[in-house]
Symmetry: C2
Subunit: 175 residues, 2 copies
DNA sequence: AATAACATGTAACGCGTTACATGATTAC
DNA sequence: GTAATCATGTAACGCGTTACATGTTATT
């Protein structure tokens, strides 16, 4: 039931409509954590209201329904976080493609790697710039904000991906 | 249909039974790419035989059925690899838990981070040792083997995770 | 002789995607 | 006034999990 907890997390950050939640799943940094489309979010929100984890706190223009986390929802999220599974199940099409890369001949493999290296380099630059400007506006001994903590995680992850792609391009057989 | 292509990849490495495929999904490095249980693998294998992507090449003791990739299966895998999606969908319970960490108070957050830092440190050490001994047995200018390429990817990924956990532990508010 | 590991298979249910339907508000 | 964006909702289908059922071979 990770979707349920992802939604609780998004609504803890800020109350929102189902439509707004769907958009946030498409963007940084939630994009790297979980994904759901509106047609899946909608019935889940109904069930979560029934289960008392969230409530509709406002209605807006165009039939908009704003949801907020209840006390029960906060407890549910905390309990879930404090009881992680021993082994995390991973399904990453990106990593899968990495493992399958050498079933291709070196030319094709290089053609796939080059855009990966370029895109990740760009992302690293964007994240670094954001971090530098955020740090400039903060006391150096202050505990990191949520944005800062997650940016650090994204940066290190994307750097790893980029470093590997460059390494692989340099070492792959040229033919 | 990533499961189908993951199976094609596993069978390209080496012919295997459904039971053996299920075990490989639980281990390094496939564990970080995709996951499926036998009850899902079994019907998929049947469908793949029907679609001509694999064939049963041997039967063994205990009703064992060994499958191997056909020419059509190789083509299917290659076509899939050469046509990656623009945006990869990610669902990682681990990353999700990272994003939700700051909904906890600092004490609880630190209690979750400490085992992550320890486990990833151990994994980094294991991967480094494997890489060092593999490199010692290889000419330095030779193109990397599949094992070497995937070990490099795993190492850089786990190092990023470990580095972040240590960084977060050092910067999180102590209370 | 008992237990663990090997090995295949089915059924019910829940999670996730695709396609469709409907309508309101904003920007040009 | 037309297109883009906002916004909710349903239905059919496919992917994935859990639980169950069955039998064989190797290890101790």
């Amino acid at each position: 039931m990770a979707l349920r907890h992802a939604i609780l997390g998004l609504l803890t950050e800020d109350r929102a409509s189902g439509y707004a939640l769907a958009r946030r799943f498409k963007r940084q940094p939630w994009r790297y954590a979980w994904h759901a489309q509106y047609s899946q979010i909608h019935p889940e929100l109904s069930r979560m209201v029934q289960d008392g984890l969230i409530t509709q706190v406002a209605g807006g223009a165009r039939g908009r329904k704003i949801y907020s986390v209840t006390r029960a929802g906060e407890n549910e999220l905390r309990t879930w976080l404090l009881n992680p599974p021993e082994n995390f199940v991973v399904r990453s099409e990106f990593v899968l493609r990495v493992l399958l890369l050498l079933t291709l001949d070196p030319r094709d493999a290089r053609a796939l790697l080059a855009p990966i290296a370029a895109a990740s380099a760009e992302e690293v630059a964007t994240l670094r710039a954001a971090i530098v400007s955020a740090d400039a506006a903060t006391r150096p001994d202050a505990p990191p904000s949520w944005e800062r903590l997650t940016a650090e995680f994204s940066l290190r992850s994307v750097e790893a991906q980029h470093g590997w792609a460059v390494w692989a391009l340099a070492h792959l057989d040229r033919s």
